[in-house]
Symmetry: C2
Subunit: 343 residues, 2 copies
Amino acid sequence: MQESDSPKLYNVAIVGATGVVGQQLLRILTTRSFPLGNLTLFASRRSAGKKITFGETEIEVEEIGPRSFRGVDLVFISATDEISRSVGQAAAKAGAVVIDDSGVWRMEANVPLVVPEVNPGDVAHHEGILAIPNCATTPIVMALWPLHKVNPVKRVVVATYQSVSGTGRAAVKELAEQTRRVLQNQRAAPHVYPHQIANNVLPEIGSFKDDGYTSEEWKVAVETRKIMHEPELAISATCVRVPVYVGHCAAVHAEFTSPMDAERAQALLLEAPGITVQDDTSISLYPQPKTSAGRDEVFVGRIRQDSSHPNGLVFWAVCDNLRKGAALNALQIAEEMISQGVI
Amino acid sequence: MQESDSPKLYNVAIVGATGVVGQQLLRILTTRSFPLGNLTLFASRRSAGKKITFGETEIEVEEIGPRSFRGVDLVFISATDEISRSVGQAAAKAGAVVIDDSGVWRMEANVPLVVPEVNPGDVAHHEGILAIPNCATTPIVMALWPLHKVNPVKRVVVATYQSVSGTGRAAVKELAEQTRRVLQNQRAAPHVYPHQIANNVLPEIGSFKDDGYTSEEWKVAVETRKIMHEPELAISATCVRVPVYVGHCAAVHAEFTSPMDAERAQALLLEAPGITVQDDTSISLYPQPKTSAGRDEVFVGRIRQDSSHPNGLVFWAVCDNLRKGAALNALQIAEEMISQGVI
């Protein structure tokens, strides 16, 4: 392979640089050979002026202004929906390509929603804004895709076990503080969540819709359909918050077009990029949040034929919701665009 | 109603009186008008001699001997499988009626497996031993039954969120100890479970079978079929341990013979004995382990039509695994037998 004399470097801005996903993105950026030019970090007024270590340099966090995105090639946003809406449009207008982590843009027809291992071709059709899926969607779609390619999936029933870092830094703090109080038999008042999350389980993520599903459950369904280009795929989810810091799990019960043998499924998943199969019940080897935190892959285990359906398969998928569920997937989209020459 | 001059009192023995279920049984016994005669408490050699407060008396815990069940009418066992096997048979031979909490007897043809709200008639067919279901089965079968009676259920896909008290006292201690260590950034070595349970999630309950399901997942299926007298009912479960002290939850996706409207399902559940509907998403009202612990009912919420199946219904069921999941159900079986005159 010949190297170009002056490979293009990309000026990058991170909006939400002090958040849990922004911090993870900075960490991952230092470990990959990303062709990084200038790096600008944005956060809310409260965090402006704060200095963040990046590799061997220190970068001061700035507040977003009207000229913030001049000369910026690539903007990663992981902040609030409001910021994704306003900054996303402004940055795209200024000529940057935006890769957004919110639910604001995902379902827009002209916004590619991408998991590079599943639908890399979609990055080419962007009009300035691309989106990454919700962190609960990613492990499900990553595990379904290699199976779907050889035996189309017809229906998916999923129950999730989602960690508090999916909500953000305040929720991580709340879990730790409440856990301390529960151990001391003290009242653990909720602030971020409607009820105590320490040593409890809450079947509420996002907001409730008229049909009784939550916005999170709705996202799992519509995003999976969009990423897999299967608008008719039947999906029903129950999304649940559990007292775990990092790592989202999903118990997936899927129905395929024809019977799906567990060994064949395992073989397909073993070959799939970005997936690590952890499935040896004789030594209690299966994916866990604890062992997935800080790792890049989606882990799949407990693969078995569904005893309740002739074409059914059951499995358990886990990933670090801040990495493959968010920051890593965003960076991989950028890398895919560079490799396809569409940025 | 006329009272008999000398209502029959029942001499009761509790095997496993110092365990989490035994303790709960003692607590519940003091709150119900059970026609209690003598009460004998048994536990392992380690606990023998220990004094347990019951109401206003103190009872010394005994070790089981060859004559332990002389004159005993009713024996509740919640100990190990080995004890259920040996003591169950011995006590029944001695003429007592045994109500057992283990998995040893449940699927025997001559052992009624009973949830009194569902199959009270089955108590009449006992031959000395009756069984209560596994604590994960009870909330599922309790919530399905009122719906099944008017619109037969065809298939159930369930994912559980089970608390550590289902394992026993050592697991409760392990969760507390590990949680303390995690808060201090110390290693939290596992003893009771194969991996850390504090701030983690383990998709392993019981032992693994050849088909990839665990014994717990298998129990949910076969016990539900037996209790509902529906040997062909299709059920697939994923059973998961979560870092919660008391309270088992289940995300249930059920398919019925014909469409099942969410409002109709809610109305049926509102009328069902032993069930409390907690389902007002506008105020984040739904069942939680925290709010179910110490309560007698099975709580059901998040009732909605399944968007992935024309005859599907989704709901979330929670109960105190030590009460309706174990001790209370056992006592209710005894009360049902007394009321039917079959003891």
